[in-house]
Amino acid sequence: MEEFESLFFDWESGSLDEDGLARLRQLLRSNEEARSYFVQQQMIGAALRLDFDAGLESLTPEASSGETLTTRTDSKDERTTVSATQQPSGPSIVRLWAVAAGMLICGLTARMVYLENSNARVVTESTVSQPETETPREATSDGIALLTRTVDIRWADGTRTPQTGDALTPGKLAIDEGYAQIEFFCGATVVVEGPAELDLKSSTLARVHRGKFRAQVPPAARGFSLEVDDMTVVDLGTEFGLDVSPGATNVQVFDGEVELRSNLHSKQLLTAGDAIERTNAGAIKTTSTTPDDFVDIAGLETRVGGERQARLLRWQTWSKRLRRDPRLIAYYSFDQSGVWQRKLLSSVEPADRELDGAIVGAARVDGRWQEKSALEFKRPGDRVRVNVPGEYGSLTFACWVKIDSLDRWYNSLFLTDAYNQGEPHWQILDTGQLFFSVRHKADSDKKNPTPTHQPVLSPVFWKPSMSGRWMHLATTYDAGSGLIRHYLDGEQLHEESIDPALVVNTTRIGAASIGNWSIPTRPDERFAIRNLNGSFDEFAIFSAALTADEIQEMYANGKP
């Protein structure tokens, strides 16, 4: 074997000659052990490469010290430049994803969105022709604004449909009806009334095609501009309204000053109380301001309040009905009033106080609606301890959760203490993938080892731009077939059947933690520390695999 390993190494480094190659082939043909070694090492080679491509090499933090080596190499020989030192042999596997992206362009739909997320690098057509110019894969959000509020919003068909709390990237936004409040990163806040269409250009600029806009621009955001045709409305620290309809454009200044710039009329200053109307032909006439026609932030707040009340009420009605669902094993609605006394009351009816959870560390904060609470988990010790007795078959886990960031290798949603036979583990990997597994059997025979369980991972569903947004996560496990399905916001993310040999028919929970892991099976830090950085607002476990329709219903009734 030593000979084989040595030859294999040389082959891999590209320094094996003809005779060596022939000998290596001969060994592969004749020696079973050599073949096993070969396959095993090649898989590791592929795995390393895939992780490199996914930008996961940062998992080994000390590795960055490799830069010292790069630098030293560079200083010794100027010609040893980037291409030789930074990229390993050749183009990245991004090209492969690009092919699939090409298929997407062929007119395919929905689920393919996850393709983009399944690799830290962004797939665009350009990567096909320029794989070498890939930029670094930091997980930065390239947003320029936040969508902070919406009321009765209906996004135009075929355009993006951001959720409240999402970061917005440059590009088109089209609203058929309703209101949206957009906070640009420069500090300007714009309330948009549909129907409206605009192009977000940068954190200080948007191009408006139609709709009603009311901008509030504090001094720090001075210079914020909206463009209409060849005209630019530059705000000099103020509040103004802009109404763009097919026939004419109307600019009204409610407070402060605004500068109009256009090709025809080089510059014009409008101050508080001024209003102008410009026809498509370019003629400008003075009109009077009508501030009540433009919904401002306070007005939107009132409307938001109305909509929020309606949604809260809908959720409360639905939640009351759910509490009597005989399939519920555990349910925490986080809807208790008064002093909590560090208890998370079980909401299952008829009530069983044994199911109440104990809050450790986690702090009470506003929930999906400010009228209701949630628990925020921040520090490594934060958790809710629960004890759920009994034996079950199929399971469903569902929760409303807000993730601030994925700090740990494994980030707990719900983990049983240790990880014993029949116990489920539900968590999120630092890559943003949902992870579910049930322990099939205790530690295997050392002499004849076989897998103890099969984890089922969703594609990447979480990225930093979703930080702070409430989302609904659910996973169903069918104990008969071993089919596992992951859901995000009522839509299926992934389904996979586990190996029949690893299907667990009898599941149990016992002592467990929400948002943490209480009894790690191994001491090393990276593996053991699994506290979630985020908040929970509603958590349910069922003794059945809920259908896709039921998950969708849960999402629709609980959506903030």
Partner: protein, 175 residues
């Protein structure tokens, strides 16, 4: 007919199985550049054969069989002298490579843990060699060690990693 439900299912499977297919092709080709090309060809062929895809049948065995065909074609084109594996060896290894590729996602998870358990110095060697793709000579030069010493070290670490991954996959494993 390429009905849309079938197409969607196909694309989902193809996307989800890219790493596994890459693992399969790379194992038999042994070169990341060429493996990427062969996988591209494989994806395109699978796409052209979408009509033969039945979404209630397992996707991977079908995809592997087409990938194997592409690997064979690549070996024929390259000429036997340049490639380690000849068609006969591909046939001999294909089954084991398929089994390996099927569990590649778990190998990746385990490997991440195993890399953590390495001594920093050893982890750095692996980083330089396999993430950054530095030639052995360069690594030896920088570390002020001989090429054969580096070779011995890397071989030992790779053995260690392989054992660790095996242990995690088969023993009391990650949860």
């Amino acid at each position: 007919m390429k009905d849309s439900g079938n197409t969607e299912s196909f694309v989902r499977q193809l996307t989800e199985n890219q790493p596994r297919l890459y693992g399969y092709v790379y194992s038999l080709i042994g070169d990341h550049n060429k493996a990427s090309d062969v996988l591209l060809e494989t994806n395109l062929t699978l796409w052209r054969k979408l009509d033969q895809f039945e979404h209630d049948k397992p996707f991977l065995p079908w995809a592997f069989s087409i990938a194997r065909f592409q690997v064979m074609a690549s070996i024929r084109d390259q000429g036997r002298d340049r490639m380690l594996l000849d068609p006969e060896l591909v046939d001999l290894l294909s089954g084991e490579v398929e089994r390996g590729a099927e569990r590649l996602e778990n190998v990746r998870l385990s490997l991440r843990e195993c890399l953590q358990s390495l001594a920093p110095k050893n982890r750095q060697l692996i980083e330089h060699r396999y993430f950054r793709g530095l030639p052995i000579g360069k690594i030896a030069e920088t570390a002020e060690r001989s090429v054969s010493a580096i070779k011995t070290s890397i071989m030992r670490i790779r053995r260690e990693l392989a054992k660790c991954v095996e242990r995690k996959l088969e023993g009391p494993s990650i949860s």
